[in-house]
């Protein structure tokens, strides 16, 4: 499972990365997590408010730190 966090490096983006890492570890799901910080690339996903989350090339979340339940629903 390939997860990308879109964000220019603000505190919320870092929180999002940490939350996903924790949730994946707790669920025992193996993921490759990366950050997209270049604005041009972020805009390429059509996301307007960061942090955004992209799973296997599809935007699943944008604008704010996702809730724990939401993250867990992705990790199946």
């Amino acid at each position: 499972m390939d997860i990308k966090v879109l964000g220019t490096g603000c505190a919320n983006c870092k929180n999002t990365v940490a939350l996903i890492e924790q949730a994946a570890k707790a669920k025992g799901v193996s993921i490759t997590l990366s950050k997209v910080e270049e604005l041009r690339d972020i805009m390429g996903y059509g996301v307007m408010s960061t942090p955004g989350v992209v799973i296997d090339g599809k935007v699943v979340h944008a604008g704010g730190v996702p809730s724990r339940e939401k993250i867990e629903s992705w990790l199946v």
Binding site: G7, G9, A26, M43, V47, M48, S49, G63
Partner: protein
């Protein structure tokens, strides 16, 4: 190498299993309580409102009773300051919680995508007014400023209208307004609202008139145009309540130390610093340069509305003029060096300079008008 990596992962799994077991074997009272807002949305709202009102009306007697229990004379300076603190601090926090909760629910109707769709293709003028007003209700984090900016321009929102939104969103928000209302009264809060919106509307309109589209960075202009869509919506009332609770956790959870600090400063300096300490440099009869100076000092400072409130409180208490202080507050929130540096990625220098100059001019005008009228 293998063992130390494996261990924490195992521990993590184990912990999760235990949590699941307890959740299954005891779907007890606490879980039901947690689910209550989601399953009984209307009753929850009514109950919360009643409870809030009760607490709010208890504030004065409770703070008086508390001070009476302390070994201080109520009539003394310290007694007065304590009662002020014990009354004001919970009052402002209660107000803030209610407003942030309500705004969190309102925000869930106004996603940035929907705002963009509302503004796309409109011509300037009324659209500037609409953009500035939408800036109040659209959730906005300063690190989203640039993606939002590009997203708006991409969907065909005029540049000036985009700026109206971008100026109003951080400057005129529910936290600033609630704090001003709680600490200085509704008159000052309304004035701040009106003036903040005016600065955003007029500055955006002027930038639109100047036709500065060619001063966007090239790659921004070359981005493919997109169709503005409203995005998926249709949350249930329960989900909106959850959104409200989340913003209370996020915003009130973050700003309460600033607020307590600000109110404590306001109470404490009452007796220590002479009443007219600031009057000579920032008071009503201060020289003309006091307003520009306040704006200039505000630019490199970077904090949110809650962080600046303690300073505002201290300045006002010491005889600084309201216009000068509001100009300072607006410049701290609306014009910040870090934001300009991020904006530089999408705007050419000339457009940034124009933006900063026009907003600064608007804020100066606010300061002078306020000082002259009040």
């Amino acid at each position: 190498m293998g063992a130390p990596v494996k261990k924490p992962a195992k521990a993590g799994l184990f912990r999760v299993r235990i949590l699941n077991m307890t959740a299954h074997s005891a779907p007890g009272f606490s879980q039901q309580l947690l689910d209550f807002p989601r399953h009984h949305a209307r009753s929850f709202l009514a109950l919360a409102a009643v409870l809030w009102w009760l607490l709010y009306s208890l504030l004065t007697p409770a703070s008086e009773a508390l001070v009476a229990m302390l070994p201080v004379d109520r009539a003394s300076h310290l007694g007065g300051a304590l009662q002020f603190f014990l009354y004001d601090a919970p009052k402002v926090l209660l107000l803030l919680t209610a407003v942030v909760f309500a705004m969190g629910m309102v925000n869930s109707y106004f996603t940035p995508e929907r705002t963009r769709a509302l503004l796309a293709g409109r011509s300037e003028g009324m659209a500037n007014v609409l953009a500035a007003c939408l800036g109040i209700v659209t959730p906005f984090c300063s690190c989203s400023a640039v993606p939002l900016f590009i997203g708006f321009v991409q969907a065909g929102v005029p540049l000036g209208v985009t700026f109206s939104f971008l100026i109003s969103a951080p400057m005129v928000n529910e936290v600033a307004l609630t704090l001003l209302f709680g600490l200085f009264g509704w008159r000052i809060a309304l004035l701040y609202l009106g003036l903040g919106l005016s600065v955003a509307i007029v500055a955006g309109w002027v930038i639109g008139r100047l036709k500065m589209e060619q001063h966007l960075e090239d790659w921004v202009r070359d981005m493919p145009k997109v169709q503005a869509t409203t995005g998926d919506q249709g949350l249930t009332l329960g989900e909106r309540i959850a959104a409200g609770q989340a913003s209370v956790r996020e915003i009130v959870g973050k700003v309460w130390p600033y607020i307590l600090g600000g109110i404590a400063i306001g109470g404490a300096i009452h007796g220590w610093v002479p009443e007219d300490f600031m009057a000579s440099i920032m008071g009503r009869n201060a020289p003309w340069w006091s307003v520009p100076l306040a704006v200039l000092i505000g630019v490199p400072m970077y904090t949110n509305a809650a962080g600046v409130i303690p300073i505002v409180q201290a300045l006002l208490a010491k005889g600084a003029a309201l216009g000068t202080v509001l100009a300072f507050m607006m410049s701290v929130i609306a014009l910040s060096l870090p934001e300009m540096i991020i904006l530089r990625k999408v705007l050419k220098l000339r457009l940034i300079a124009t933006f900063a100059t026009i907003v600064a001019a608007g804020i100066l005008l606010v300061g002078y008008v306020f000082n002259a009228v009040l």
